[in-house]
Symmetry: C2
Subunit: 326 residues, 2 copies
């Protein structure tokens, strides 16, 4: 079995690569070859598997990427939300045309001999935009409020149609906001959800720009990788033409995040969170989903995080060698 | 005020042109210039208005079309459902890329000086696909079961995003199935809905391939033109980022169509309908919407047909000079 990961150099891409190397098996078929592609050449992991790394821009075509006929393709590549909003043309070129180019390359490849790979696409809860109910069901409309969300919603539609036509066997996973993102604080409007946990855990101050009542929809990096792996292995016939899934995440308020931090790292850690209300971030965040009734994905075996405590503990294990700053 | 109609040679395009010529006014502003474009040059109507006709393929670009900076653009051009399903590449090139090309041309035009035209897009109830509730509400997901429906849903998303960004002031109208389509019977799976009325009204036999219990969602050509004109004149700020509207149509069964025909043209007309069940057409039609709760559009002043009797009478007036075959 051959696997291609597009966007392999990103945070989720690297963790997915590591998970596949640790257990190189999908549906009982051994992974014999992996291709890791990204706009910058992804690091080549230490493994006995046959791994090829590739630097390429989806905007320039994808024929080379699918010429080896990978059985499973993870398409995680994207211009992030803020950049897609700032640069209209670039966002559409990568986030929309990039997916189309990939689908076209797969369709062209099938002209030679039958070919219909499993395609797992990292979509986003950004396909939903306010106003919405407190809990969003599986039949609620996509009405994004960003170009990024629009591009993800369009890719979902393309993948549905191409799956219906037998060009790919697609599954789009609407990833919740991933916490705790490892690394440094960044400028993303959603960054504080991670910052207020990650920084105090290493003894650093973090800024909280919204109220503790703000509720949002989360998953850990481990859960995100778990969704993608389950999408690669699941039975897809039951999906019919609706290949985009809202997955079971964790609905929590900022206050609940902070109480989980207190239980695990104590009052000292919580005191490192500095409240500095920011009206702009508050306005942006108020347009984001708060909770989903992800009934369909749950019935299909997708599993999210058990609690915010579990999310924090996983971060401490995976990123901090089990050690909290004292 | 300048108006551009793309797809002006089609049935709705010609009727829209006639309506605008009959009353050359949008929002109290006089129409001084009309450009009629289509892949074949549209007929130039007899009028004192300044009318330009153009043969052009949206796939080849739209810069010329918007260079005159029309204030209102009706974009009705499309490859029809059956052809978009038969020819994957052509459907996407015209129905999806064509709209994108138009939006890009408008965006490029605004680089010179501010420009944000009203754009009215003819979308379709084909953006919805089974399974759905008996009555589809305004927040139900787009899950098309055809490439045509997928392309329309994608255009809706593009127009929402471009409206949010101030590139256009867009409104997408999800047209119900238009009955009675004038002209000859065609191969469209939906053709029988018109055929069983239109042909008996001129003394010809028509074939009914489905059961009389089949329910569907309809509007007359007059109502379709009315929706488009209302979309051109309405206040759009209230739409927010959700620019696609399911409009108030008429939900009726084939049996109700036939009873309306009986009331207007008598038993003799009804006897010209020959039942010839077709399993393929029955299967296709069973995946189509039956009724909508078009609450949002109704509140915004969109008005549909009062009854099937009214639809038939309008056809007799508009297409048959008021005369039923005796």
């Amino acid at each position: 079995m051959q696997v291609l990961i597009i966007g392999a150099a990103g945070m989720i891409g690297r963790k997915l690569t590591a998970a596949l190397i640790a257990r190189p098996d999908i549906l009982g078929r051994e992974i014999t070859r992996m291709t890791l592609a990204d706009v910058v050449e992804p690091p080549c992991p230490a493994t006995s598997l046959r791994v090829t790394t590739r630097a390429c821009d989806l905007g320039d075509g994808a024929a080379d990427l699918v010429a080896q006929r990978p059985d499973v393709i993870f398409h995680l590549a994207a211009i992030v939300s803020g950049e897609a909003e700032a640069d209209f043309a670039k966002g559409y070129r990568i986030n929309m045309d990039g997916t189309r180019v990939l689908l076209e390359a797969i369709r062209a490849e099938a002209v030679q001999a039958p070919y219909c790979p499993r395609l797992i696409f990292s979509s986003s809860i950004a396909v939903f935009g306010a106003p919405f109910p407190e809990v969003i069901g599986d039949e609620f409309l996509s009405a994004p409020l960003t170009s990024y969300g629009t591009q993800k919603a369009i890719c979902e539609l393309l993948i549905n149609d191409c799956s219906r036509r037998g060009i790919v066997d697609g599954v789009s996973i609407r990833l919740p906001t991933v916490v705790i993102r490892p690394g440094k604080p960044n400028a993303a409007a959603s960054g504080f959800f991670s910052n207020i946990l990650r920084e105090p855990l290493v003894g650093q101050e973090a800024v909280l720009p919204v109220s503790r009542e703000v509720r949002h929809w989360f998953c850990s990096p481990r859960a995100a990788v778990g969704y993608l792996l389950h999408a690669a292995a699941m039975e897809t016939a039951v999906l019919g033409a609706r290949r985009a899934l809202s997955v079971p995440g964790l609905s929590a308020t900022v206050g609940e995040e902070i109480e989980a931090l207190r239980r695990i790292a104590g009052d000292k850690a919580v005191r490192l969170i500095r409240e500095a209300p920011d009206a702009t971030i508050d306005r942006i965040v108020s347009g984001w989903p708060q909770a989903f009734d992800a009934r369909r994905a749950a019935a299909l075996g997708f599993v999210g995080d058990a609690s915010f405590d579990a999310i924090i503990r996983a971060h401490i294990d995976d990123e901090l060698d089990g050690i909290i700053a004292s």
